[in-house]
Symmetry: C2
Subunit: 249 residues, 2 copies
């Protein structure tokens, strides 16, 4: 046991290392949809890990919609329609890439604001407490597709300028590096709505045109709410997601 692994990541856990190998094989198209993988016992032998480690890798990939398994039948490559539909917190940039488009943004405004009652309640602060608001137009291939109006709880004295955000590709990455912003989980609430005058102007549509409205509260690794974001998307925008299992298991 414990042969040094030739290729990648000496600091990566073995199960993720295995998952990467298998995942790469699949994404390269070397395995057909619904094709069976080698059995867990065989993979364990082939890669010189315990069967439990193989199972961890399998679970890891199952959660991501890459493979699936059936009791007594085997483990299989998930069909293309479900692959890549797992949602993550940095979904906008991900979505764009998955579609082969270039994500972008135009920052309208960055300002300190006092928390409203509605937002204070969601972010566990008092009404009037200081927040930072970032108002942006989201672009795909340089075309506006939506509006993001985000409110952040940041450490006192935190300063954020328009040019900083524009320089950084990802707002989340910037906040993570500059402050201890570590999003771990989010709750979203989707609905349909009609464009207000202002929305219509910014997005280049008519007033009362339908919009996909998504409200999100983002939580830190300690489950403190750290962001509220109101997003409005054109009707051409598609929000893809995957649902696993039934509630009764």
């Amino acid at each position: 046991m414990m042969k040094i692994d030739d290729t990648t990541a000496l600091t990566l856990p073995r199960y993720k290392w295995l998952a990467n190998i298998i995942g790469t094989t699949i994404s390269q198209g070397l395995l057909a949809d619904n094709q069976a993988l080698p059995s867990e016992r065989e993979l364990a032998e082939r890669y010189e890990v315990s069967r439990d480690t193989v199972r961890k890798a399998v679970r890891y990939m199952e959660e991501r919609g890459i493979i699936y398994s059936g009791h007594g039948r085997g483990t299989f490559v998930a069909p293309a329609i479900v692959r890549g539909t797992t949602r993550f917190i940095d979904s906008f940039s991900q979505d764009a890439s998955n579609r082969g488009s270039v994500p972008g943004q135009r920052v309208l405004n960055v300002e300190p604001v006092a928390a409203s009652m509605a937002i204070a309640g969601l972010l566990n602060v008092r009404p009037g407490d200081p927040l930072i608001r970032v108002h942006r137009i989201r672009l795909m291939d340089n075309v506006p597709v939506g509006l993001h109006d985000a409110y952040f709880v940041l450490p006192p004295g935190a300063k954020l300028t328009l040019s900083q955000i524009e320089r950084a590709g990802s707002l989340y990455k910037l906040l993570t590096e500059k402050f201890g912003f570590t999003p771990a989980e989010a709750v979203e609430n989707l609905s349909a709505g009609a464009a207000e005058q202002e929305d219509a102007r910014l997005l280049g549509i008519q007033k009362a045109d339908p919009l996909l409205i998504c409200e999100r509260v983002t939580l830190s690794d300690r489950r403190e709410p750290i962001e509220y974001c109101l997003m409005k998307y054109l009707s051409s925008y598609r929000y893809k997601t995957r649902i696993a299992k039934r509630s009764g298991d």
Copy 2:
């Protein structure tokens, strides 16, 4: 070891049994949001299971958004805002219950139809192949909130009548029992749209009013597509979901 467990489920795996115990404690409000649970080692001792079994229970509940854990810190009760936001395939009835409303339906039509090109592609059948269409108005507390237009791939000769569906509470349950319909996973695509004349009439709104549009493909345990469903919801309807982690892990 192996003390017979006093209460529930002698056929249930031990980790689900443990998860149920802990989950019940939480849902009864006996533990505060973000309160720490006993350590894994302590739970293992207390419930006379191995630590690995405790960890399985913890993972099981983490996936469902009931608890979360931090390396070196402990395991904690997820705050109320995230609990119960995990989406499952039978989401409509679940959603309604979670809100304290009574889910309902009015079946408009049940009929065999020939697959269109668009739907055939999604369901892996040939255009013209037989499908069964179920067109329904969805109700919450007897008030219309949306339209479901579902197309099923069922075994040849499968017959479905309007009265059967109306008698059965859940369409999925009926299909599962009568035919081998076993949904395991689904892919959804959400967007905003404007109500057509017919939508408006059925839902009691104006033409061009905004609607939340959700397309869904449901897959069996073998990942064969077995249902396509086009759903349209009033703007008052809320689609709740939870997103775990970031894409880079």
